[in-house]
């Protein structure tokens, strides 16, 4: 495994140290990303504790089937991403490349489904603002404000993830010393899984409130 040793940055004494510094850096970034989502999550916490009934009414207006399908799409994309990281680590660049393309395709599928949902919600006057439906209980507009902000911020993160996947898939066409290395694919994977983690919590908070009535 010596040819890769030439590509260690000068501040590191070994390749292992360099890889660990990168992984640690990604985790610090992910922790700060969690806090980036935190104010919106707290807004949701405030809404659920102060307007529980409006929350249930509003949540029943979201699309249960599309939301559930999208969760399955994202969980599967994370699985493929884990396979891609494993393939890149084993230096099976062609396999890693096609897995990354599949991950990006699932990401695009998620965005398309989300777009269909957004379209229906615009039609039903559920987008907060002057055109919001008039006979809604107080708190419902805040629910949809947080819904669009949280899912929109999530979709923005996913878009970045898709672009990273495609860039890496393009780079993986070239043989070994070329970018991306196995570690780079692993770092992209950590980011992708974090975006998945956010959605895992958004799913019950957005789509499953008050489904059983009451």
């Amino acid at each position: 495994m010596s040819p890769m040793n030439t590509r260690i940055a000068e501040q590191f004494s070994s390749r292992e140290q360099q890889a660990f510094a990168g992984t640690f850096g990604m985790w610090v970034f992910i922790a700060s990303e969690l806090l980036f989502f935190a104010p919106l999550l707290f807004g949701y916490f405030y809404l659920r504790t102060h307007y529980p009934a409006a929350c249930a009414v509003a949540s029943r207006h979201t699309d249960f089937l599309l939301g559930t399908a999208n969760t399955a799409v994202l969980l599967s994309s994370s699985f493929l991403m884990a396979l891609a990281a494993q393939a890149a680590e084993a230096r099976r660049r062609s396999r890693a490349r096609w897995l990354l393309v599949a991950v990006a395709a699932l990401g695009v599928a998620f965005l398309v489904i989300k777009g269909v949902e957004y379209h229906a919600e615009f039609q039903e006057q559920l987008f907060p603002g002057a055109g919001f439906r008039s006979q809604a209980p107080p708190g419902m507009e805040l629910f949809f404000l947080l819904y669009f902000a949280l899912t929109g911020l999530h979709a923005l993160h996913l878009t970045v993830g898709i672009l990273v996947c495609l860039a890496m898939a393009a780079g993986l066409r070239h043989p070994e010393p070329q970018w991306p290395s196995g570690e780079a694919v692993e770092f992209a994977g950590l980011y992708w899984h974090f975006v998945d983690l956010v959605w895992i919590f958004l799913y019950p908070l957005v789509y499953l409130v008050g489904r059983a009535g009451g």
């Binding site: 707290f42 969980l75 994370s78 699985f79 895992i200 019950p204 499953l208 489904r211």
Partner: protein
């Protein structure tokens, strides 16, 4: 199936099974327990993704500490902001259009 991919496949199947559990249990009328189940299932799913897909289980302890530091900071912010909202009552006031109040000029 390769030996190394087996845990990933099992995790994926477990995640889909948990999704089915949380999606179906939401339709059973249980009141606040519905939310508790939804969040509990989400936590288990998140742990699976973090420990297996993100390799926290096999990784250096410093990485687990970093993840916990993020969660602890989140809990701290929720506790401090939540204390504010929990101890103040909301005074309902009708929304007034600016034009409905006559401007007070002079004197």
């Amino acid at each position: 199936m390769e030996r190394r991919t087996r845990p990933l496949v099992l995790t994926w199947l477990a995640l889909l099974a948990l999704l089915a559990l949380s999606a179906s249990s939401a339709w059973i009328p249980l009141g606040w327990i519905n939310t508790a189940i939804g969040l509990a299932v989400a936590t288990v799913k998140a742990l699976l993704v973090a420990l297996v897909f993100m390799r926290l289980r096999a990784g250096h302890p410093l990485l687990r500490l970093t993840a916990l530091a993020g969660l602890a900071t989140l809990a701290l912010l929720f506790a401090l902001s939540g204390a504010d909202y929990a101890t103040r009552s909301e005074v309902k006031a009708p929304w007034q259009q600016p034009s409905s109040v006559a401007p007070r000029l002079g004197n």
